[in-house]
């Protein structure tokens, strides 16, 4: 097994991996072909649980994250999309050479930190007659400052999620099914996975209690894949939110109770990197994986 650093050095040298800025990667050639194949394999897995696929918007309404109490929970990751004022004088100053970075209006939209917020926003105020499942893949954004690292921890990265809303026990059955599927996927790809209890890195001191409850109740697990002989990375997570989002977004069951929710999330770049660490950067040595089309790009 090579280290992630050795693999990344080879990919950069081959011109298959580059960064526009820290945490913003581009891909070509065999690396891109592998990433796409894993996207497709994981999409099929997701659709087998949730045939209803959504194409989610590129950003979230500001109020969606506010309703989800996101600012109190994870302000450290928050990213936003903004644009210049349409004031002619501002645009003229920018066109003449003023630094546009000083001229953006306060952000209109949040760049999504996870796909599932789109689901709660779209279902807000609804009454669910039966367990509701959806899946989507989207670009998600979490700013992690000095910790950003190519493929391992992106400012922008590719997330596939499956979301279930329904009764609490239905959500738990769904979540456990997701754990089994992800374990089977890792083994089929020749990866040594480990599923461990986990907590979210809540920011606020007042949220410490949430972390403790999450651990005691077993509400979050992560699937960890090796990135070298002595370290690993969480490549999927399995989360039971109880009725937190159902209450926040007023999503109810037919008996009037708030819906529970659970989500299963895959970080595609992390699966890609773990695969490369396990099998090396040369496609000739990779095990067969479905959907891997031979790359046409030559360095």
């Amino acid at each position: 097994m090579q280290s992630a650093e050795q693999v990344l050095a080879v990919l950069r040298k081959r011109g298959e991996l580059w960064e526009a800025a820290p945490g913003l990667v581009g891909m070509r050639g065999d690396l891109l072909a592998l990433h796409r194949a894993l996207e497709r394999v994981i999409a099929e897995l997701a659709r087998s649980q949730a045939p209803d696929e959504w194409g989610v918007p590129a950003a979230l309404a500001w109020d969606t994250l506010k309703t989800a109490d996101y600012f109190a929970s994870f302000p450290q990751w928050l990213s936003a999309a903004s644009h210049l004022s349409s004031d002619r004088a501002v645009l003229e100053r920018v066109a003449r050479g003023d630094d546009p970075r000083r001229e953006f209006v306060p952000a209109d939209a949040a760049l999504p930190p996870a796909v599932c917020y789109h689901t709660y926003a779209a279902l807000a105020g609804r009454i669910l007659e039966s367990p509701t499942l959806m899946t989507a893949q989207g670009t998600c954004w979490r700013h992690e400052g000095e910790r950003l690292a190519a493929l391992e921890r992106g400012w922008a990265f590719t997330m596939r999620e499956v979301v279930c809303l329904g009764a609490g026990d239905e959500c738990e059955v769904f979540r456990c099914g997701g754990i089994e599927q992800a374990i089977a996927l890792a083994e089929s790809l020749g990866l040594d996975e480990e599923v461990v209890p986990a907590t979210d890195p809540f920011f606020a001191p007042t949220a410490r209690g949430k972390e403790l409850l999450q651990r005691i109740k077993g509400l979050k697990h992560e699937l960890v894949l090796p990135l070298g002989p002595d370290r690993g990375i969480a490549a999927a997570s399995f989360n039971h939110h109880e009725t937190f989002f159902g209450e926040a977004f007023d999503i109810r069951l037919v008996d009037g109770q708030p819906a529970a929710s659970a989500c299963v999330a895959f970080g595609i770049e992390r699966w890609t990197l773990a695969f490369l660490v396990a099998h090396g950067p040369d496609a000739a040595h990779w095990p067969a994986i479905p959907h891997l089309e031979s790359a046409t790009w030559q360095p």
Copy 2:
């Protein structure tokens, strides 16, 4: 032929189209299936010209747009990604309830207004031994204020581009080939296309000359598709940049001259909307198109 407004009303009513905020659309069901099918058809067309596919980063380095003289040319569209300061005091204020929109640091990265800027950035400083072609699909961002309209004019939208760098005549041959391909595509989809000379909407008064030159030299054409009996929308553009980007990014040919460039760009949501206007919102009445899988989502 229905109007775009009638089609959009049906899609919203079926729950297949929604907006997180103006210009930020989500899709489900038959609409999503159609959009994906068109993505794939157009991707195949692009790969037949440029087998080298890139997975481009989700944002651009600030300097890339500066080098491309973007701020002078199109400040009105400029969008940026930013994050909160990592200062603990700021994060604590936000966690306690302060409006985070006031606390973003000046933007670190630009949200891409077009895919091809990634190409020039990645090839900066290179000498090209032969015509260089690439293709990529990405989410692009252009803020158009009051003009934003679902599927027709998104703040974020899906662009497929094919880019060619080489000698000027090579780029022109590529550009004309792109026009022919796009016309054939429109006809195969049963759409009444029209190819017309066009100019970019340069902002600065000093850039007016560019517009005039663009028109006189025939450097830009657009393929327009009908959105109703009396109006249409540019759904693809075919652009020759002469040596503008080659000079700006120091990309040269073996003889030391700056490379010329051309790009062919498809706006996927616009093709989707024009198809729906031509054939109606009911999948049962659509002509056969490759890759259209029956949607599994039921409203």
